[in-house]
């Protein structure tokens, strides 16, 4: 069986992590920022699963499941908070939330 080398998996994960980070730092829409954080989390999952598969470990898979669950909970909290902001300000852009930017 020709398998993908570990280095490629790690590189892909690092790229995903970088894309996610760039998204959080540059995008101004909170929803897109939340999506970018999810991309970062999934990059971590990919790294963990890659290490596990390559070395025949199991704990990485378990950890990835935990992270998926936590990321789902985090998305729920985040969306609820976006909703709370939208109720008060009718916007999802961080540029328009000026109260705390001093």
């Amino acid at each position: 069986m020709t398998s993908i080398p570990l280095g490629h998996i790690l590189l892909l994960a690092a790229l995903l992590f970088g894309i996610g980070l760039a998204g959080v730092l540059t995008r101004r829409n909170i929803l897109v920022m939340l999506m970018s954080v999810e991309v970062m989390m999934n990059a971590v999952n990919l790294t963990l699963v890659g290490f596990s598969r390559y070395n025949g470990w199991t704990e990485g898979h378990v950890l990835a499941f935990f992270i998926i669950a936590v990321a789902a909970a985090e998305a729920a909290v985040g969306l609820a908070m976006v909703l709370a902001v939208f109720r008060l300000k009718q916007t999802t852009y961080v540029d328009e939330l000026r109260l705390l930017k001093r």
Binding site: F17, I30, V37, M41, E59, V62, G78, M81, L100
Partner: protein
């Protein structure tokens, strides 16, 4: 299994309290809910403290044996910090109800979230593996995000919650990425497995280890609000409901430092770290000096007391970071072995009590959605609300480190321990800390001056005078004075907590290698054999 469950009794108490609050709140009429949940929460948190004390005193001998196959433990360290955060939760439960009613955001979920946050912290500081540490951290953080945004009609509160949430989730992504690399190096997530993997430096390991240290370290620095990752602190502290601000600056900081110490000592030590040529002590020292200086300078110019105390929280994170140097300097890193005197846990007790007293006093200022927390509002408070003025005074005196209070002894111990490292290698850092304390005295003392010496204005200002809130500010203030006069007991608890990290790690290591030699087998009896060596034997390596 039953043994494992017995070791996490404090956490279970907090979890049951949270679930019960969540389930029972819809059935309570609003008036009863306002009266009942604060008392219930304070009682359950106090029960968790009692459970910690019982385990601490009468716990089984193999206490250092991590429960749930190396994921949680009830070591002295875990119990000390669990008791500390539960105590913070108790005071917060007492100070919250009246504040929430006056701010028109009293909902029963608040208390459930507070319990969940405390539960998360308790899991985090008891973690023996990075997996449990992460889960605890997330349980804590997610509850805190919601609690910060809890005044949902207030724009400041909701925006603060959102800001904290976005930055916090990026920080947890960094932590996770670091954990993933540590996992890749060691094939496991428990501290013991990581430490074992770091015993033997492998070729090509340095890059991954370096990345892991930078990523996880960055996440912890964010959580403790160290410069340059402190940007969220003033906004979040100012926007959050005042009791939650107090909870954050006491319990969140305590649990973050508790698990940071554990992670640094139990996770990241060993010859592989030494081969990395990363002077961990000096890096932490640099961050500490930056943090305390920037925090204090920015605090000087603030008008809002909440914002000022937020910057002062940044400065205190700097003092504490300097304190961690004394704990982590390790023979394998080329430094002499130090007796763990518990400077950081001890300092955290004083800092937590001072924050709780101060923010509880601030919670009482203002009714009907008002928050009278700028410097101008404090003029003449000594006549209008003497108890709040007194509690706030004791709190800022302790934060400034004035002798009869606990804050003085905390600072003294950090200074002494850091000076003892390698015959005063960190003397410049210590001098900077002392200079910083002098600067900070200026803005701290502005508060008592405003309250006791400024002429009272004629403005009509209303204050909350409910007994539970008054006790919430009086108890920590009294404790600050009492422990300041008799610091010996708290000091010995704190040093036992740090010893436990060391002893727990080493005995577990012995147990683990023994189990490996024997070709597996159940870990428990083996660990018990290893623990026949008393704690005091740990420094012999």
């Amino acid at each position: 299994m039953l043994h494992d469950l017995a070791l996490i009794t404090p956490q279970l108490i907090l979890l049951i309290a949270a679930l019960f609050t969540l389930v029972a709140d819809p059935f309570l009429p609003i008036d009863a809910s306002r009266k009942f949940w604060g008392l219930f929460g304070a009682g359950m948190s106090a029960l968790a403290v009692v459970a910690c004390a019982v385990l601490w005193k009468y716990g089984p001998f193999e206490m250092h044996t991590p429960a749930f196959s190396y994921h949680l433990s009830a070591s002295g360290h875990a119990l000390f910090f669990t008791a500390l955060v539960s105590m913070c939760a108790m005071i917060t439960h007492m100070s919250s109800p009246e504040y929430l009613v006056e701010q028109k955001s009293h909902y029963g979920e608040y208390y459930a979230l507070l319990h969940f946050a405390t539960f998360g912290m308790a899991v985090m500081v008891s973690a023996e593996s990075l997996l449990t540490l992460f889960i605890g951290l997330e349980i804590m953080s997610m509850s805190i995000y919601v609690l910060v945004a809890f005044k949902r009609t207030s724009q400041a509160s909701v925006e603060a919650g959102l800001k904290y949430f976005v930055m916090g989730s990026v920080a947890s992504a960094f932590l996770l990425y670091g954990i993933a690399f540590l996992f890749g190096l060691s094939g496991g997530t428990s501290f013991i497995e990581i430490q074992r993997a770091l015993l033997a430096p492998k070729p090509g390991q340095d890059l991954w280890l370096g990345l892991a240290v930078v990523l996880t370290g960055g996440a912890f620095l964010f959580k403790v609000a160290a410069v340059p990752l402190h940007m969220w602190t003033p906004d979040v502290y100012e926007g959050a409901p005042t009791p939650i601000t107090g909870f954050m600056s006491s319990a969140v900081k305590a649990s973050a430092f508790g698990s940071f110490l554990k992670f640094l000592y139990a996770g990241l030590s060993g010859p592989a770290m030494a081969s990395l040529h990363l002077p961990l002590g000096q890096v932490l020292g640099l961050f500490a000096v930056l943090t305390m200086t920037v925090g204090n300078i920015l605090a000087l110019t603030q008008r809002s007391i909440k914002r000022m105390l937020a910057y002062s929280a940044v400065a205190h994170a700097g003092y504490l970071l300097l304190g961690t140097i004394a704990t982590i300097d390790d023979p394998t890193l080329g430094a002499p072995f130090l007796a763990p005197t518990g400077a950081v846990p001890f300092y955290l007790v004083g800092y937590a009590l001072a924050s709780l007293a101060g923010f509880a006093a601030l919670s009482s200022l203002g009714k009907n959605g008002e928050e009278l927390t700028t410097e101008g509002h404090l003029a003449g408070l000594s006549k209008r609300h003497p108890i709040a003025a007194l509690a706030l005074t004791v709190s800022v005196l302790s934060l400034a480190g004035v002798p009869p209070t606990l804050g003085f002894f905390g600072k003294l111990q950090i200074l002494r321990d850091v000076l003892a490292v390698e015959n005063g290698k960190y003397l410049p850092h210590v001098i900077i800390l002392v200079l910083n304390s002098v600067v900070s005295a200026y803005y701290y003392l502005k508060i008592p001056v405003a309250m006791y010496m400024r002429p009272d204005s004629k403005a009509n200002r209303q204050y909350v005078r409910e007994p539970s809130l008054t006790w919430a500010m009086a108890l920590p203030a009294l404790a600050l004075l009492a422990l300041g006069i008799m610091p010996g007991r708290a000091m010995s608890w704190a040093s036992r907590s740090e010893q436990a990290i060391r002893a727990g790690t080493e005995s577990a290591n012995v147990a683990h290698s023994y189990a490996v030699v024997k070709g597996g087998g159940s870990a428990k009896p083996v660990a018990a054999v290893a623990l026949e060596k008393p704690v005091a034997a740990a420094p012999v390596r």
